[in-house]
C-alpha cells in the first residue's frame, strides 16, 4: 500500500501541473546554515555545518478554481561532520496533498500526505480524507490510508506503528451556542517489539473520544475533550477549558487536565517504555493539573498576562506561576516583551532525585525586535536560575542576537549568533545564517 501511495502522490501532482500555470502560487523557502562545535568527555571534538532547506509551495485556484496543491518539507546536507544520524543527507516530506474545496458546506477532500486535527485525532496520514457540514447543524469527516512511519527504534526493525490507519469525527452544532463531537481513530495491528519490558504497556492505537464547545453567553466558553483507549479499556485523557470575557479586553481562563499514563501512552513506544520514577513501570500512573490565566490587552499594543498552575502526580506536587508583558509598538515595527515564571517543585522532580536536590527554578526572559522595510534586528535573553545546582551550574543562560536585511519584501538574509552557558556546556557559541524567500499573498495572514 505504501509503495502504491509513493507512486500515486507524484502522479497526482503531475496531473495538477498543467493547470498550475494558471494558478496562484506561493513559495516559502528558508535556507539555514548552522555552525557549531561539540566537545564532550569521552568523545572526539566534532564540528558541524548542517545546511537545511525548508520549502513550502502552495498552488491555489487550480482546475477551475476549487483545486489546490500544498507541499512542505525539508532536506539537510552535512557539510562537515555528520550531525544527527548515520546519514550525511536527510530529509522529510512534512505534507504534500491535493485539496478540492466544494462550493458549499465547507466540504473538502484531500489526497496525499496531510495532518488530521479533528476532535481527539492528531495524526499524519498518507491517504485520503473528506469533510462536510450537513443540514440541521451536523457535520462529518473521515480519513484513511497508511501511517507515516518514522525512525526505527533502537534494536528494533520498526517504529512501533501499524501500517494502516483510519478514523473520523461526527459533530453537531447548534447556532453559535453549542458543538458536540464524537471522534475515533483505528490503526492496524502494532508490530511486535522484542523488548519484554513493553509487555502489557504497549499495543495497538485505537481511541475514541468526545469533544465539547459550549457558549451560553458571549462572555463564556467551555471547551473540552475526553479520550478513551479501547485497547486498555480506560480513559486516557480529560481536558477542559473555561474561558470568561467579562470585559472587551480582559480574558480569564481556567483549565483542568487529567491523564492516565498507561491508557494515554499505550501506542507510543517512547513513552510506554519510560520507567516510572516510582515503580519501574508507568501502569495506572495518574497526572492532574489545573490552573488559570488572565490576560488584558491595552489599546491593542500592550498585553499583560498572569498565570498559575498546580500539578499533581503520584511522585509529588508542583506549582508554576508568573506573568508576561508583550508590546507591539510603532505599527508592530517594534515588538518587545518580558516574562517571569517560577516552578516550585519537590526534589522528586529534580533531574537526579535526592533528599538534597530540587526541581525548582526561576525562568526569566526579555526580548526586543525591530522589523522595518529595510532591516530587522532582535535580541532575546532567557535565563533559568536553578534553586539547587545542576551538575555544578546554578543557571542556564542563552543570549540570542539576530540581524537581517530585507533585499525586497520577499527576500531576507539574516544571521543569528547565540551564546549559552548551561549544565550541558560551560560555554556554547552557535552561529546561523538564514535566507528567507516568501511570496507575499495578501489573502494569507501572517506571511512573515
Amino acid at each position: 500500500m505504501k509503495k502504491a501511495f509513493c507512486r500515486l502522490l507524484p502522479a497526482l501532482f503531475l496531473v495538477a501541473l498543467p493547470s498550475a500555470a494558471l494558478a496562484e502560487v506561493s513559495v516559502d523557502s528558508t535556507t539555514v546554515l548552522r555552525a557549531f562545535q561539540e566537545s564532550r568527555p569521552g568523545f572526539e571534538k566534532s564540528t558541524f555545518l548542517p545546511a537545511t532547506q525548508f520549502l513550502g509551495v502552495e498552488a491555489t485556484k487550480l482546475g477551475g478554481g476549487n483545486l489546490s496543491a500544498h507541499l512542505y518539507g525539508w532536506g539537510r546536507a552535512d557539510l562537515a561532520d555528520k550531525s544527527f544520524n548515520d546519514d550525511q543527507l536527510n530529509g522529510s516530506l512534512t505534507y504534500g496533498y491535493l485539496q478540492y474545496r466544494f462550493n458549499a458546506a465547507n466540504a473538502q477532500a484531500r489526497a496525499g500526505r496531510f495532518f488530521v486535527h479533528e476532535g481527539i485525532i492528531n495524526e499524519q496520514v498518507d491517504g485520503v480524507s473528506a469533510r462536510t457540514d450537513l443540514p440541521y447543524g451536523f457535520g462529518v469527516s473521515a480519513f484513511g490510508g497508511a501511517t507515516v512511519h518514522t525512525a526505527h527504534l533502537l534494536d528494533e526493525k520498526s517504529d512501533g506503528k501499524g501500517d494502516g490507519i483510519f478514523g473520523g469525527r461526527a459533530n453537531y452544532r447548534y447556532g453559535g451556542l453549542l458543538e458536540l463531537g464524537l471522534s475515533g481513530v483505528y490503526e492496524t495491528k502494532a508490530p511486535v517489539l522484542s523488548d519484554p519490558a513493553l509487555a502489557g504497556r504497549f499495543g495497538d492505537r485505537r481511541l475514541i473520544g468526545a469533544d465539547l464547545w459550549f457558549s451560553p453567553y458571549r462572555m463564556v466558553q467551555l471547551m473540552g475533550h475526553t479520550s478513551y483507549n479501547t485497547e486498555t479499556r480506560g480513559v486516557a485523557e480529560n481536558s477542559f477549558l473555561l474561558q470568561l470575557k467579562p470585559l472587551k479586553d480582559l480574558v480569564l481562563s481556567g483549565e483542568y487536565n487529567e491523564y492516565h499514563d498507561r491508557d494515554l501512552f499505550y501506542s507510543s513506544v517512547l513513552f510506554a517504555g519510560m520507567p516510572s520514577m516510582l515503580s519501574g513501570n508507568n501502569l495506572n500512573q495518574q497526572s492532574r493539573n489545573f490552573g488559570g490565566k488572565a490576560s488584558y490587552t491595552v489599546n491593542q499594543k500592550v498585553e499583560i498576562s498572569g498565570d498559575a498552575k498546580h500539578y499533581t502526580r503520584e511522585i509529588g506536587k508542583a506549582d508554576r506561576f508568573g506573568g508576561e508583558l508583550r508590546c507591539n509598538l510603532a505599527d508592530a515595527q517594534l515588538r518587545t516583551g518580558l516574562g517571569y515564571h517560577y516552578l516550585r517543585a519537590s526534589s522528586d522532580f529534580a533531574i537526579v532525585p535526592s533528599s538534597t536536590a530540587s526541581g525548582s527554578f526561576h525562568e526569566m526572559r526579555v526580548y526586543a525586535m525591530r522589523d522595518t522595510k529595510s532591516y530587522q534586528v532582535s535580541l532575546d535573553v532567557i535565563d533559568y536560575l536553578f534553586k539547587k545546582e545542576v551538575t555544578g551550574k546554578d543557571s542556564a543562560l542563552e543570549v540570542l542576537g539576530s540581524l537581517g536585511f530585507h533585499f525586497s519584501p520577499d527576500l531576507t538574509l539574516s544571521g543569528d549568533l547565540s551564546y549559552g552557558s548551561n549544565p550541558q556546556n560551560i560555554d556554547e557559541l552557535k552561529g546561523l545564517v538564514r535566507l528567507t524567500y516568501s511570496t507575499t499573498i495578501a489573502g494569507k495572514g501572517d506571511p512573515k
Binding site: 512534512t94 495532518f115 462536510t132 518514522t150 522532580f349
Partner: protein, 157 residues
C-alpha cells in the same frame, strides 16, 4: 428480528431519498472563504475588530477566536474543531513550524529572528526537559509521542 423484503426495500428507498434531500440542502449551506479576503495586520489579530459577533448558520462568534495570550496558550481546543477557519488565514506550514512529525531543528532556532512568536523549548530546554518531562509528560507526548525523533531515541530507548 427478520424484516420482509418489502420493508427493506422501503427502508433503502427512504434512506436514498433522505440522502438526496440532504445533498440538495448542502448547496444552501454557507462556505468559509479559502483565504481571508483582506490583508491582515502583522502580529496577533483580533477578529472582532472587523467582524460582527453574530455569525451565519452554525458558526461560532468571531470574538471567540481573538488571538489573546490565553487563546494562543490554548489554541489546541480551537484547532481540533475549527481548523477550516484557521486555514482561512494561516498556511499549514505556519502550524508545521512547531507541529511536525520529523523535526529538523527546534522551532525557536529556525525562527530565531522572531522572538515575538510563541515557540516551545526556548533556551536550554535540553536541561529543562528532564524536569518538565516528569512534571507533565502528556504535554511532551502530544508532539513527540510517536515521532521517534532521532535526538530523543539516543537516550530514551
Amino acid at each position: 428480528m427478520r424484516r420482509s423484503p418489502q420493508t427493506l426495500t422501503f427502508l433503502v428507498l427512504a434512506g436514498m431519498l433522505f440522502a438526496l434531500a440532504a445533498c440538495a440542502q448542502l448547496k444552501a449551506l454557507p462556505n468559509l472563504p479559502a483565504t481571508h479576503p483582506e490583508a491582515l495586520a502583522t502580529g496577533p489579530v483580533s477578529c472582532s475588530e472587523c467582524h460582527e459577533d453574530q455569525q451565519k448558520g452554525t458558526m461560532k462568534a468571531f470574538a471567540a477566536f481573538n488571538h489573546s495570550a490565553a487563546f494562543i496558550a490554548n489554541h489546541r481546543f480551537y484547532a481540533s474543531s475549527d481548523d477550516t477557519l484557521c486555514a482561512s488565514c494561516h498556511k499549514v506550514s505556519f502550524c508545521a513550524d512547531c507541529h511536525t512529525n520529523q523535526t529538523e531543528m527546534k522551532p525557536s532556532v529556525k525562527n530565531g529572528n522572531r522572538p515575538d512568536r510563541a515557540m516551545p523549548h526556548r533556551g536550554d530546554f535540553l536541561t529543562l526537559h528532564k524536569i518538565e518531562g516528569k512534571l507533565d509528560p502528556a504535554s511532551c507526548n502530544r508532539c513527540h509521542g510517536r515521532a521517534n525523533n532521532e535526538r530523543c531515541i539516543v537516550c530514551h530507548r
